[in-house]
């Protein structure tokens, strides 16, 4: 219990040294920032460990086993190794840009964590009232790092990687932003804490209202992070290592950290927007029972668990699927994701309007309150869920309509079966067998 009482204890301790506004607006934020950086870095480090372990189990291997028990100290060993490596700069590289690019990547990835609500109360660092916009804006800055890195390396592979990544991130950013709008209609706020509160006070996760939006967000998120199957910018088999081909040592590891941090960020934001953030049914009973700190701690744990599950999905996809080709990726982005996101907006808007229109104080009540998000009654929730899942059919229908002419629409139909023939033995004849006479 002492652990959970710590915040109040530290608070009173700090008040002895600083005035109250200083404590509230300067000291506490710094403590929180420090904690978040430490936690995120640790999370990133152990995400690499987990990825290696999970991929190993998928591939009938053991993964890291030598450093510490079950290789648990492997990330630290890796960090030391990377720090002590030579920091190599290619001769004709644009030195300053080459220097700066990794930092931009890391900063852009880490800074988003500032607005993510890890839990209720003191687990929120900053509650910006335009949190969602902030997330989108800052994560776009990550593209800049990639372009600069690719450009300044003075290498064709790096340049191609950078071009690919900029095209990819820009196109998926669009559908990602569009996908969020549906959830915002239910949340009626741009603040991330507000979105979680809207879900918590209505006891529902937005994924039930917005199945399509959630899918688009996840897929775009994976594409945005340049993870497999969308890892074209660093497609190892084609572009060697893409935009960070020429980087080595710690600078390379910064890019690596930025990639994992961006993954953590996207999973955290997806959790916040669609999976209820720190909200989990029945956890609030702890609060009612008076265990406030325990309630916050359990909520933080819930948040981390949800984000961890999404992270596992990332790993799972990466080690299962082949890689898209560049044009297929663009096809998917512009011809599937973006229309789907637009349809989602329209259907959600119609749904929300219909639900609001049906709200009749005398008869059918669909709306409880509008204080925190769109507070729906049970019948209102049922209607919203029906709209959400009906949207799956609508979207599938319209998307097939749009795409049925495209080459990749039904690949299974295009594939041909092979034939088995038993040519006569001992006849040395090459014959181009046409389809009618398999001799």
């Amino acid at each position: 219990m002492f652990l959970f009482a710590a915040p109040t204890f530290i608070d009173s301790l700090l008040l002895k040294f600083f005035s109250e506004p200083t404590v509230n607006y300067v000291v506490w934020p710094f403590i929180q920032i420090g904690l978040v950086i430490v936690i995120t870095t640790g999370w990133v480090a152990y995400a690499t460990y987990l990825e290696r372990k999970i991929s190993a189990f998928m591939q009938a291997r053991l993964g890291p086993m030598r450093v510490g028990p079950w290789g648990l100290l492997q990330p630290i060993a890796d960090g030391i190794k990377l720090l002590t490596k030579e920091d190599f700069i290619p001769e004709d590289a644009d030195r300053w840009i080459f220097f700066v690019a990794p930092y931009i990547a890391v900063v852009a990835a880490f800074i988003v964590m500032a607005v993510v609500p890890f839990g209720p109360d003191w687990a929120v660092i900053t509650d910006v009232n335009i949190g969602v916009l902030f997330v989108l804006a800052v994560s776009s800055v990550g593209v800049l790092a990639l372009i600069l890195a690719g450009w300044s390396s003075n290498s064709k592979y790096a340049l191609m990687g950078a071009l690919r990544s900029s095209a990819q991130m820009v196109s998926y950013e669009v559908s990602m932003g569009m996908a969020i709008i549906g959830a915002l209609m239910f949340a009626r706020t741009l603040s991330l804490s507000g979105i979680v509160n809207a879900q918590a006070s209505n006891s529902i996760w937005f994924v039930f209202y917005q199945p399509i939006g959630f899918m688009i967000f996840l897929v775009s998120g994976i594409a945005e992070n340049n993870r497999a199957p969308f890892d074209l910018p660093e497609a190892e088999s084609e572009l060697v290592a893409g935009f960070h081909t020429e980087y080595s040592g710690f600078r390379w590891s910064l890019f690596f950290m930025a990639e994992y941090a961006a993954m953590v960020v996207v999973t955290a934001v997806a959790t916040t927007l669609y999976l209820g953030g720190w909200y989990f049914p029945w956890v609030y009973k702890l609060e009612l029972a008076g265990f406030h700190s325990l309630y916050v701690a359990v909520s933080v744990f819930v948040f981390l668990a949800k984000a961890g599950l999404l992270l596992y999905l990332y790993f799972w996809l990466r080690w299962t699927l082949p890689r898209f080709r560049y044009d297929q990726l663009m096809d998917l982005g512009w011809k599937w994701m973006l229309p789907a996101a637009l349809i989602n907006i329209v259907v959600t808007a119609i749904g929300v309007t219909v639900i609001q229109g049906l709200n009749n104080p005398a008869g059918l009540r669909t709306i409880k309150s509008l204080e925190t998000g769109l507070g729906l009654t049970l019948s209102g929730k049922a209607m919203a869920i029906v709209f959400g899942f009906g949207n799956l059919l609508v979207t599938a229908g319209i998307l097939s309509l749009i795409n049925w002419r495209s080459r990749d629409f039904n690949l299974k139909k295009q594939r041909r079966q092979i034939r088995l023939v038993d040519p006569p033995k001992g006849r040395p004849a090459v014959m181009p067998v046409s389809s009618e006479s398999p001799s």
Partner: protein, 359 residues
């Protein structure tokens, strides 16, 4: 833009250098630069005795050392008119088919990895390991086995050889199905392979492709059928043929070939005859003067040996017909108009080994 791919590049399968002329990411021209692994084996062979040349053959296509070794010993046997015992033929058939599976598994793993499915590589290596264990027990080596001797085998099959093969034959089809569930129906895999690197049957014959690359275009040419060697005349198996000649067809053909190889191994193991494994071979191998060509169906295609003997202990000239070298010639025609990512897929589908291309 000119992009220099290789010789140090993750997916050129060794030290192949491909100079790509690109328009954006579309390939408009392509040039292969080979020779980084040239060791002059054909010339070396002119200064070696017939028995000493065999290990050099293992190092041509080091993934299919057992098949390569067979070409050489069979050529010498045929030029000398040696009568190899039936048991030796059967064991040779089993082991070369195992080698074909091992080679195809390595192809599957690297090809899938080039296209981005990394897990398949490790899965394929898991099965390949079982084959290599059999090789290790039989030959004492895993990769460059020096498997055969002129006139038969260095020694008889080890105790438990039949059981090992049977165990492999029993579980292998399930594993193959596992790979197919991950790849064959996968939308991304289909998108990356269907219609990529198409080569028509006429072009394939004109270039001189052989092996799965040729059969993927629908040409029924398999030396195991048309000029049976070892014990293939007594085996019952079928030849898979593709239709479109694209990467996906070649993939299916190779997958089916593994199933057929398993079928051959099963038959051969069940009917393995008793008897000696060595013919009566003269102490000094001195083939009669003349020239001779013999070829077998290696995992990559027709691997042949053209031998000119002047009646001494050393060949006057040895020429290898390397399947990878000739299959590589189709790369330019297959790749032009595709994207850079497809070039990687096409190099993978041709299943080249640089040790054999450069010799």
């Amino acid at each position: 833009m000119t992009l220099n791919m290789g010789p140090q590049h993750p997916s050129t399968h060794g030290v192949l250098r491909v100079v790509l002329k690109l328009d954006g990411e579309t390939v408009i021209d392509l040039d292969c630069d080979i020779g980084y692994l040239h060791r002059g084996m054909e010339k070396i062979a002119e200064n070696r005795m017939y028995t000493m040349i065999a290990p050099y053959w293992d190092r041509l296509d080091y993934i299919a050392a057992v098949s390569n070794g067979l070409v050489w010993v069979e050529t010498v046997e045929q030029i000398m008119g040696l009568d190899v015992p039936r048991r030796a033929h059967y064991i040779r058939t089993i082991l070369t088919e195992l080698n074909r599976i091992a080679s195809h598994l390595l192809w599957l793993g690297t090809h899938a990895m080039d296209i981005g499915a990394v897990t398949i590589l490790l899965w394929a290596f898991r099965e390949r390991e079982e084959i290599l264990k059999i090789f290790e027990r039989q030959f004492g080596a895993r990769l460059t086995c020096h498997a055969w001797r002129v006139g038969g085998m260095p020694n008889d099959a080890y105790d438990g050889f039949v059981e090992d093969c049977k165990r492999f034959v029993d579980y292998f089809p399930n594993r193959l199905d596992e790979y197919e569930t991950v790849l064959s129906e996968n939308r991304i895999w289909l998108g990356r392979t269907v219609g990529i690197g198409v080569i028509s049957a006429e072009d394939a014959v004109a270039i001189g492709l052989s092996g799965p690359a040729l059969r993927g275009s629908g040409v029924a040419w398999d030396i195991r059928k048309s000029r049976p060697y070892a014990a293939y005349a007594e085996m019952d198996f079928e030849v898979p043929l593709g239709e479109n000649g694209d990467t996906f067809d070649r993939y299916l053909v190779r997958m089916e070939e593994m199933r057929q190889s398993r079928r051959i191994i099963k038959q051969a193991v069940e009917n393995l005859p008793d008897g000696p494994v060595n013919a009566k071979v003269p102490k000094l191998i001195k083939p009669p003067a003349g020239d001779y060509y013999h070829s077998i169906e290696g995992p990559k295609g027709e691997i042949g040996c053209y031998l000119v003997s002047d009646g001494t202990q050393q060949p006057w000239r040895m020429r290898v017909r390397p399947p990878s070298f000739i299959n590589l010639q189709a790369l330019r025609q297959m790749s032009i108009g595709h994207l850079v990512a497809d070039v990687v897929a096409i190099i993978g589908t041709l299943d080249i080994v640089l040790g054999e291309i450069d010799r």
